[in-house]
């Protein structure tokens, strides 16, 4: 049974290895989880999961593998409910779509509270429907029905794996990757780009050089070296306005993280696609436009370039001259993108839109092609792969 559990974990992408499995066995042998399945759950979690983003996955798989091992937590409630209410009479047929539709009633406490209230109100047997306790309904209380946060009353085993137990509570849900992208996470991801070099005033003792030079000269000859700094240089182009409005918060966070992480960072704004002009102050975008050529000439080719934008626009805005929605552009966006990419070998595009939705927008595929597939979603995972790509030597 444990082997099965172990294999399922691996199949679902929780990185467990034989070493950890043996450690779990060792722990079982030492009697660390003799008392209950909950202890076993805690022990296996401490042994097998090494990253909080996998905790939620682990909880789900644990619930799946060991379902029905223990009576439902709410069993003591059964005593108060007349038997015949709960006798299985029929099972309401629910399609997955219908299941989706059923709303959860809220958190555990609220559920228990409602249950108590419901128990006081209810006097006769009830079946079906979506409010009263009984069988085969969609109310959170009762058995053989479906509700995402249901309490099981008088049902032999979990049918939908949804009765709330320790692991079924899924308290770690929001630690799963992909979703949460706070400033701190972004900074961590950006740190991958660090590339230390020695520059500036010599203020650290270089021990090796000192010893060597002292041995050579025959007297104490102290050598100093400059401190190491992050020498990475970055140009960031932000798409702003229009369809980017829903992503403002995310971009702000990315911006503030990048600001504090990179000493040499220059940022520019554009709208939808890069054309001959960009700007640095969005409130004066029409007065203080900078020529894109000037930027290409000013910053040498060892700068890393990051575009941030949803790349969602009319395809004409990329491929045709005059396609811009704001002004008449002599040359198409495609030409400008190619110009930038020719100079800067390390360039990537970060897209705040979910990767799964990319294929539905033609301009995203277009832009992705232009970028040689170096488009990444603006999530922790995406950012990490993007930084990996940028830190590659060209």
């Amino acid at each position: 049974m444990f082997i099965n559990f172990f294999m399922t974990l691996r199949e679902h992408g929780v990185p467990v290895s034989l070493r950890e499995y043996l450690m779990l066995m060792e722990g079982m042998q030492a009697g660390l989880a003799d008392h209950s399945i909950t202890d076993f759950y805690y022990l296996s979690r401490a042994t097998l999961v090494k990253n909080e983003s996998n905790l939620d996955k682990f909880d789900q798989i644990f619930g799946h593998c060991f379902k029905g091992l223990e009576a439902p937590e709410a069993e003591d409630l059964t005593a108060e409910i007349p038997e015949d209410w709960l006798r299985k009479m029929a099972e309401k047929f629910l399609t997955p779509e219908e299941m989706e539709k059923i709303e959860s009633a809220g958190d555990w406490d609220k559920l228990m509270e409602t249950l108590k209230k419901r128990l006081d109100e209810q006097n006769e047997r009830h079946q079906g429907g979506s409010k009263w306790i009984g069988t085969a309904g969609t109310s959170p209380f009762g058995a053989y029905g479906y509700n995402p946060e249901g309490i099981r009353i008088g049902q032999k085993e979990s049918r939908h794996r949804r009765a709330v137990k320790v692991w079924d509570k899924r308290e770690f849900r929001n630690l799963d990757d992909n979703v949460e992208l706070g400033t701190r996470n972004i900074k961590v991801a950006l740190k991958r780009l660090r590339n230390f070099a020695r520059q500036g005033a010599a203020e650290e003792l270089d021990l090796d050089d000192t010893i060597q030079s002292t041995a050579k000269r025959g007297y104490l000859d102290i050598k100093m070296v400059p401190e190491r700094h992050n020498a990475i240089k970055v140009l960031i182009f932000f798409d702003i306005g229009g369809s980017m409005d829903p992503h403002i918060k995310l971009c702000e966070e990315l911006f503030s993280a990048a600001r504090s992480e990179f000493k040499h960072m220059e940022y520019f704004y554009f709208h939808n696609c890069l054309y001959e002009g960009v700007w640095q102050d969005n409130s004066r975008r029409h007065q203080n436009r900078m020529n894109t050529y000037d930027i290409l000439h000013k910053y040498p080719h060892d700068y890393k370039v990051i575009f941030v934008g949803d790349a969602s626009m009319s395809p004409y805005e990329i491929v045709h001259p005059g396609g811009s929605v704001e002004h008449w552009n002599e040359e198409s966006g495609e030409v400008w993108m190619k110009r930038v990419l020719e100079i800067y070998q390390s360039a990537i595009w970060l897209n705040p839109i979910k990767e799964a939705h990319w294929d539905y927008t033609h301009s995203i595929s277009l832009m992705r092609q232009l970028m040689n597939d170096k488009m990444y979603p603006l999530t922790v995972n995406g950012l990490e792969s993007a930084m990996k790509e940028l830190s590659r030597k060209h």
Binding site: L32, V188, L220
Partner: protein
Amino acid sequence: MKFTGTDTYVATPDLMIAVNAAITLQRPLLIKGEPGTGKTVLAHEVAKALGKDLLEWHIKSTTKAQQGLYEYDAVSRLRDSQLGDERVHDIKNYINKGKLWHAFTADDSPILLIDEVDKADIEFPNDLLQELDRMEFNVYETGETIRAVNRPLVIITSNNEKDLPDAFLRRCFFHYIKFPDKKTMVDIINVHFPDIQNILVREALNLFYDVRDVPGLKKKPSTSELLDWLKLLMVEDMPLDVLRSNDPKTMIPPLHGALLKNEQDVHMLERLAFMNRRENR
């Protein structure tokens, strides 16, 4: 030898299992969690509960793995040699023991806290792999091998600033301290302020969780901030009705400086309070 929490530390059952597993199987225990949920304090409390010595190794961005083992002080040897000091002939005089050396050679197996391991360089945990696994290391300068007489319990904390290498993780037990729920929080408060009025705790907790639920806060207040805040409330002898009133004007909690450490967060709460006030008018 079992850890069940102490009279100043409330341990949840899953934390107890993780600590006991680490004690029994003599493997390192890696602790992660939001800042201020008691990661470092855990090591102190485990040491207190088991009656062991605690060795603390606080990691900085410049810390090298070698510093935990030993350091060879070449510079002072060089100086001594120039001054013709007798000590110069024995290299042992210039080897400074690190925390791991102390932990390995202590008589009664101590508890070693490696605090904020993620602050160090990415390679840092890798450099300690063998040393923590086999609990031994070589001193190249003298050719000795230092081996742990009694394997110490190693507790490692991390703030998630960097990913730790897989090989390192595989050798540890892992526990994520999640933010305590209201019930656990009441226990924690009772442990720290036994003579606090229940009513004050209840009102303060409601307010505290309300603040934590405000969407978009840059830094949510944590347990240690709550404890500080309660201490302040007690010292200031804050009248209860200030906490309790549903008046939207007091949407900003009294003495909020202890809870919110970011002026943008304070502004946001103020703005929300203002909007609430308008709605209620």
